[in-house]
Subunit: 111 residues, 5 copies
């Protein structure tokens, strides 16, 4: 498996926990969910008890998708939340850390 996706609703933070079977997570981008508000929605991320960091700001009818290109592999909980009226869909993928894949992946080594 590789793809990872989640919808984060306003006021309902999503908690991501590291899973050694799945490995390091690449967070590729964020896209606005459905809604009729014209106000912006900001995606925030907080690791453990650190203050939240703005990852992107999505503007309805102007900029509804933003690349993020982040990676997460921490033991601490990672909390994604949305400040604004509209839910945000996050998408990304797992690199995969399965030992058995190791040999199979030889051809993937270049990127």
């Amino acid at each position: 498996m590789a793809f990872w996706g989640v919808e984060v609703k306003a006021g309902k933070p999503f908690i991501h926990r590291f899973d050694s079977q799945l490995g390091r997570l690449r967070l590729s981008s964020a896209t606005l969910g459905s809604g009729s508000s014209n106000k912006k929605s900001i995606v925030q991320c907080s690791v453990g008890s650190n203050p939240p960091i703005n990852l992107c700001s999505l503007l309805p009818e102007k900029v509804e998708t933003s690349p993020l290109n982040l990676e997460f592999e921490e033991d601490d909980e990672v909390t994604f939340s949305v400040v604004g009226p509209t839910s945000v869909h996050l998408s990304g993928f797992y690199y995969g850390e399965n030992e058995d894949d190791c040999e199979d992946r030889c051809g993937l080594d270049h990127y």
Copy 2:
């Protein structure tokens, strides 16, 4: 081979299945197809029976191309669909997993 591209029409989902000969798929970006509507088209992705996730939202005459930077390597079916009036072209490439390529690719190792 490397390049992968497909046009996903509104209402006609495209199903991607993993092929061990082709290997892991990188989905690079999405671009609006031809059409005269000024309404947005949203690209969604669903893996197996999971709920669809919005990957990007394309706005005619404003933002017609969006980077995606996702990867797919799952055994489950991956369904790409478009919500909106206009078809969307997806483009990407295969990393390649052919054992025979392994030695040839030594110089590609760095990226």
Copy 3:
């Protein structure tokens, strides 16, 4: 060598052929050439006899550059063409597949 760039003029497709000396090509982005039209120009790509796929849509004075992040390593001919009034400049780079580079590149292995 690494950098690759070409100007594709409207109505004059550019054909890219794989060269084992140069190796896998990374196509990084597309930018509008000079011109006074306010109509959009679409970059398309076709591999062998497959139908063309829209890679990006460039809008004068709004979005004149688009990331592409594609890779090409096929034996088939790859045809880049422009639908629209203005030429488009494509830029990218070769990963390099020279056996002699292999050892030298050890330090590049991480990315």
Copy 4:
């Protein structure tokens, strides 16, 4: 651990110092903090005593997030500063350089 994030306030530069335990830093993107100004905020970076370089320019209600995709691994101090009225949130991640990770990461080798 992997995620790295910091809020850089206008007039209060943030200094990043290399930490061999954490390794090379990838700076993925920048996003406007909260504020009501409609003037742009520019993120600058200066290494050691070199003159500052503009990394991105964020425009309220137009372009509030920008990809950066930079890497830092220098012994010199790296100073991030903001020219403009609004703070900017920087986000990125550490690649990780722990010897013990080396074998575990075999499956990650492809990207």
Copy 5:
């Protein structure tokens, strides 16, 4: 060291030469410098005696930063120039090609 940055002024091309100590250069993005013009500035790149290729087009108050994601490792001179009224700041980083780094970088292998 890793970070690389330069301001290219209009009419004053900047020449980049390969340095084996520094290795392959990644050019990450371009951002407008200070200025009050509302006309666009185009970044061009020319390798050796090849014709210049447009890398991006920056539009004041609309799109002031553009990702480039290019790589340079050529023996020939690489000339970056700006066509337009405003200087452009280029930023990127060196991958590093020092043999001694090779073992230390084991943990960086995955990306």
